[in-house]
């Protein structure tokens, strides 16, 4: 074996024409300065990020203006696309904060997510389940989990960890019902007890966490009112079926306090990463694999929202006829047939298909024949409906893990 050993230091001067200089930066990265003065960091610090919605761009289930309230005591309620919350007691609000007009120091992302404990003091868990097909390439590998965070009000210790769905679990079936994801939240400084077939992966012992301290099954972060980067490495077992990136309060959070997070990542290897998103189109498409809707992206799904984007069709059989279909195509195909499909009347406060020609509503509306590529909206007309009259309905299709 042979090696070159460098001392850390500032960038050297630009070399003469036809030469390049290798040096070790004060951050511990190997760099090359070429004769044009270009300073190239040789560490691969923009690897593929397995976390979706890592910049908190999308929150399709709610309006992105203002906050929305969620609560799943010991379960998982999805807030921003991909991001679930589990709370010790009611409730939690989620807000997407836009920094376009007022950028924040140490944050490159335009958006960040604000998770606020409300009503009473309690513990709070923020998590994202990563699909088996995405985590398979990092089995038996070291990965780095990283985020930027700041508190809402009081400085506090938060924990960062990585959870696996073990070999005993069923692929892409991570518990989400009340009391099933976190079966107990524990006292202050005690980590939540996880549900069936879920297990913490201890941080890699040989790699010092980034701005955090290993303790037990996770790493502790001292979160303040300034944006800071935190991270830790974990060795993913070869038998892991799903990974869950988890951030949780080390103790109860006071009502109306919480945490802001953004620029999250899970990457193969142990290198500290620069947060390197793809274009908004590509990042959105990753989320559409799990949740799609007929509404505009930043518009909350609601009844009587108007015809914009609603799925169109026509009456195929006159009168009171059950089971007439309207076809809906899903772009891109979802990860699985959506398990939860919800319909919204675009012109009235109910969940039925609207006859836009007659200005009346169906008496029943449901979904059928759901697949990764589409589904049918089935409905029952009323006596006055005539063949070929126009129909419209809004919908959401949810295949979130």
């Amino acid at each position: 074996m042979s090696f070159l050993e460098f001392n850390e230091g500032a960038a050297p001067s630009t070399p003469t024409s036809g030469k390049g200089t290798l040096y070790l930066s004060t951050a511990g990265d190997l760099h090359l300065v070429n004769d044009s003065g270009s300073d190239l960091n040789l560490i691969n610090n923009d690897k593929t990020n397995l976390v979706r919605n890592s910049g908190l761009w999308l929150a399709q289930r709610q309006s992105t203006v203002g906050s929305a309230t969620y609560s799943s005591v010991g379960g998982r309620a999805v807030t921003a696309d991909g991001w679930g919350v589990s709370n010790e007691n009611a409730s939690v609000t989620y807000t997407r904060t836009d920094t376009a007009a007022a950028p924040e120091t140490n944050l490159n992302a335009r958006f960040y997510g604000t998770f606020t404990k409300i009503t009473v003091n309690g513990k709070l868990v923020i998590c994202q389940v990563i699909e088996d097909v995405d985590i398979a390439p990092v089995r038996n590998s070291t990965v780095r989990v990283q985020l930027w965070a700041k508190v809402i009000t009081a400085n506090a210790t938060w924990r960062i960890g990585l959870v696996q769905l073990t070999a005993a679990g069923t692929v892409d079936t991570v518990p989400s019902g009340a009391g099933l994801f976190c079966t107990a939240f524990g006292a202050g400084t005690v980590d939540p007890t996880l549900g069936a077939n879920l297990a913490y992966i201890a941080p890699t012992a040989t790699i010092t966490p980034d701005n955090a301290t290993t303790s037990g099954s996770a790493a502790s972060m001292a979160v303040t009112s300034d944006w800071q980067r935190f991270g830790a490495c974990f060795d993913v077992p070869v038998t892991a079926k799903n990974l869950v990136l988890m951030i949780w309060s080390d103790s109860q959070v006071a009502a109306n306090d919480g945490i802001n997070v953004s620029q999250l990542s899970l990457t193969i290897g142990d290198e500290v990463q620069a947060w390197a998103p793809q274009s908004i189109q590509a990042e959105s498409a990753r989320c559409f694999r799990y949740y799609q809707k007929s509404f505009n992206i930043d518009v909350a799904p609601v009844q009587s929202a108007g015809l914009q984007g609603g799925n169109r069709g026509a009456v195929s059989v006159a009168g009171i006829t059950a089971g007439q279909p309207l076809g809906v195509r899903l772009y891109p195909p979802m990860r699985a047939a959506p398990g939860l499909i919800t319909m919204f009347n675009p012109s009235a406060a109910n969940a039925f298909v609207r006859n836009t020609t007659a200005g009346t509503d169906a008496t029943a509306t449901a979904s059928a024949n759901a697949s990764e590529d589409g589904f049918d909206v089935t409905f029952t007309g009323i006596a006055a409906w005539a063949v070929a009259q126009g129909l419209s309905v809004h919908w959401t299709a949810d295949a979130e893990l």
């Binding site: 200089t21 290798l22 335009r110 063949v387």
Partner: protein, 413 residues
Amino acid sequence: MSFFTLNDQNSIETPDSGKGRAWLGCDTPKLNNDSGVKAVLRASRFNWIRNSGFWFAQRQTPGTLTTYSPTLSSTTRFLTADGWGVQNSADSIQYRRVDTLGAAEGGIAASRFYGEFTKLTTAGKIAISQNLESQDSEALRNQLVRFQFSAKGVGGAGPANWRFGLLYTLPGGAVDSSNLGLVLTMNAIEWLDSPVTLGASFPVGTAAYLAPSSSPKPQNSTIVGSAATFVVTTGVWQQYGCCFQIPANAIHVAPIIFSNASLATGAGISIAQAGLTVGSEIQDWSSKSNDIELARVQRQYQKTFNINTAPAQNAGLSGAIRGVVNIAGAAVSSVGFRFAVPLLSRGAQTFFNPSAANAFARNTTAGTDATATAVAGGLPGTGTSGSYANVTGIAAWAVGASIALHYVFDAEL
């Protein structure tokens, strides 16, 4: 501090078994192992420019020279290839996509296509630019980026000076609206520095040239004032680039390339392999798969025609959307559709009769045309996930008859 200096060279021999050699080739650190594999010690960066390989020109037949800006246009920006807008100081500009599939061109071997921009009709200046939407621009805030591209001259006038730079806007300016106000007022006289000034229509203080970074040195170009000057030679591809520090509060960034002087008719520039990447490194141009690159441009422009088919009336039923007559006679029926990817914004829409020379829906059962076709309520009636057309029939239309129409939705910045 310690460092290790390498000489730049073109190649090295494969090392002995069990050894590896780190070396410098074309300013890029490389590693040869004992199997002779050359590993570049850096992954390529994400390219924030869409249609960077000039694959798509959905507004036209890509390979056919197509004229834009039929009237003098100093303040209006016309989209040619997807994502790429042009302005000219005098009538007009032509664009076409050139396919190198049958005749590869040295210097841009990694890309099949390039874009050719030619001055037409009257001598004048031209500017070629791409506005990045706000969410993409803001991901670059507070970072050093490199704008690079390959270019060669068009026409036989000999080497010509061109300029390139990066425009940006700050909070308070337009966000994701058409052209962002980044249209330019063309200066009628030749200039060396800042030859193009921002249009008076744009709010003062919300857009500016971003000063090029002198370190690292610009690639094959020279910083003069607020942009970099480069020389293109007819028929010879060369790569150009420069770095820029994006302000922490930038809302939009827009790479721009413009002629440094008035171009003779028939003269112009060919561009390929454009890139805007985080970091200072010169990049080997790389792209995503074609389906991903297509989805990126479809966020701002979608149509029912084949990708390489110019939108036109009377183009046939292939790809047309379908519906049925909801109400007999001269009444309004609706035909809905869902976009392949959600649009950036509601944009502007155009309809095309697939079987006749008009902009109305076709009743394919009756073989007659609607008398009006529009999105209900204009723009507010259009969603970004999908939309619908209201079609006004004629007296002879029967309920249940089939309707067909083509559309274009354009939300380009």
